[in-house]
């Protein structure tokens, strides 16, 4: 997202990143757990399909906003993600920006009752 205005694709990507970051606020999770929780918490509004979650997770990890760590679970290696301090700060700042954009959008859009059928 840019300082003033926003690129739609960047915005969509940013939203996904924020959703992942917000999901990790409650504690560390595996990739699939993040996807399941977001799906459940949004009443199926946000569903990750075709592995689209992985580039988001790996990008956030590369930027230091989340931290991936490996451990063993019954002989298998699992990777869990947790939110970093930088990620927490980013989440707080970007949440404010998204709210600003959404409220700006809501001001522009008519209420459903005002739209002629």
């Amino acid at each position: 997202m840019t300082e003033k205005g926003f690129d739609v694709q960047d915005f969509a990507r940013g939203i996904h990143e924020l959703l992942v970051l917000s999901s990790l606020q409650t504690g560390e999770k595996h990739g699939y757990q993040i996807a399941l929780d977001l799906q459940a918490d949004s009443n199926d509004l946000f569903r990750f399909k075709h592995g689209t979650l992985y580039p988001i997770l790996h990008r956030l990890e590369g930027e230091g906003l989340i931290k991936g760590s490996w451990s063993k679970d019954g002989g298998r290696r699992k990777k869990v993600y947790s939110l970093t301090g930088k990620g927490r700060k980013h989440l707080s700042g970007e949440t404010g920006r998204v709210q600003e954009i959404v409220s700006g959008l809501m001001r522009l859009l008519p209420a459903p009752s005002e739209v002629p059928a």
Binding site: G31, Y32, H50, G51, H58, R77, K79
Partner: protein, 262 residues
């Protein structure tokens, strides 16, 4: 049970691996993560009451990257060096890489030669020393090239031929040094008619002779050790990466060359 479950997604992992254009170490980590998530999600969906086939299909649909996602992952893991040089003519880049490595190898060799000359071991060098230094230079160039490809370009499509050649050169370097020293000793004995020269420590010729041999043996030993070390590090790294890849894909580590690191 774990092994049986892991096998359930092996063909999927192999298919994904074929289209995942990221360096092998990152590829292995992505596949391990994917496998665990697939297993866990399938288990969760089965526990929620879905039949095994449906649970499997849903897990695959949610987690297995489609071509667009694989491309995105590939871009994420593009090595920084490739990002910097990707827009340049690759032939020019190749020439620049080789020139830089050759200059580095020559620089290292010159630094070594300088250290030897400061130690006064170059006053009357053995003719074998030049051959030893030349072989050492080639070894350094090869080792730097392999290291550069592995750790800077993140290109793991290396055969074991490179490290083996470095090891062979190290052996030849050491052998040449020893042969040169023995030949010099033989010539000395032949020209002095026995061990007379060794029995005159104050003799200037005797000191010169020892200094010459010390220079030759030091250079050949140090260069051979460096070559051996380079071989060890490169081979260990390749084995580690290759083993991890074969392990995640459920392939036999003792199997054929086609299965080795790509």
């Amino acid at each position: 049970m774990t092994a049986r479950r892991a096998r359930a997604f092996l063909s999927t992992l192999r298919k994904v691996e074929r289209h995942l254009g990221v360096p092998v170490p990152a590829r292995v980590k992505i596949l391990r993560e994917l496998e665990f998530d697939l297993e866990e999600l399938r288990g969760r969906l089965e526990a929620e009451g879905l039949c095994p086939e449906e649970a499997r299909a849903r897990a695959l649909e949610a987690l297995v990257p489609d071509p667009g996602t694989l491309t995105e992952l590939g871009e994420l893991y593009t090595p920084r060096y490739r990002r910097l040089t990707g827009h340049l003519d690759q032939d020019v880049v190749r020439v620049l890489e080789r020139s830089t490595l050759a200059i580095m190898a020559a620089g290292l060799l010159a630094a070594g030669a300088l250290a030897l000359s400061r130690a006064d071991l170059f006053r009357d060098p053995s003719p074998f020393l030049w051959a030893v230094l030349a072989l050492g230079g080639i070894s350094i160039f090869l080792a730097a090239g392999e290291g550069f490809a592995l750790w800077v370009k993140r290109d793991h499509q290396l055969s074991r031929g490179g490290p083996r050649l470095i090891l062979a050169l190290a052996g030849v370097t050491l052998g040449l040094g020893l042969f040169g020293a023995l030949l010099d000793a033989y010539q000395l004995v032949a020209t002095t008619g026995g061990a007379a020269a060794f029995m005159l420590p104050e003799s200037f010729e005797s000191f010169e002779w020892f200094a010459r041999q010390a220079g030759l043996l030091t250079a050949s030993l140090v260069l051979a050790l460096a070559g051996g070390l380079a071989w060890f590090v490169l081979t260990q790294w390749l084995t580690l990466v290759s083993g991890a890849r074969l392990d995640v894909l459920g392939l036999d580590p003792t199997a054929t060359r086609q299965q080795e690191v790509r």
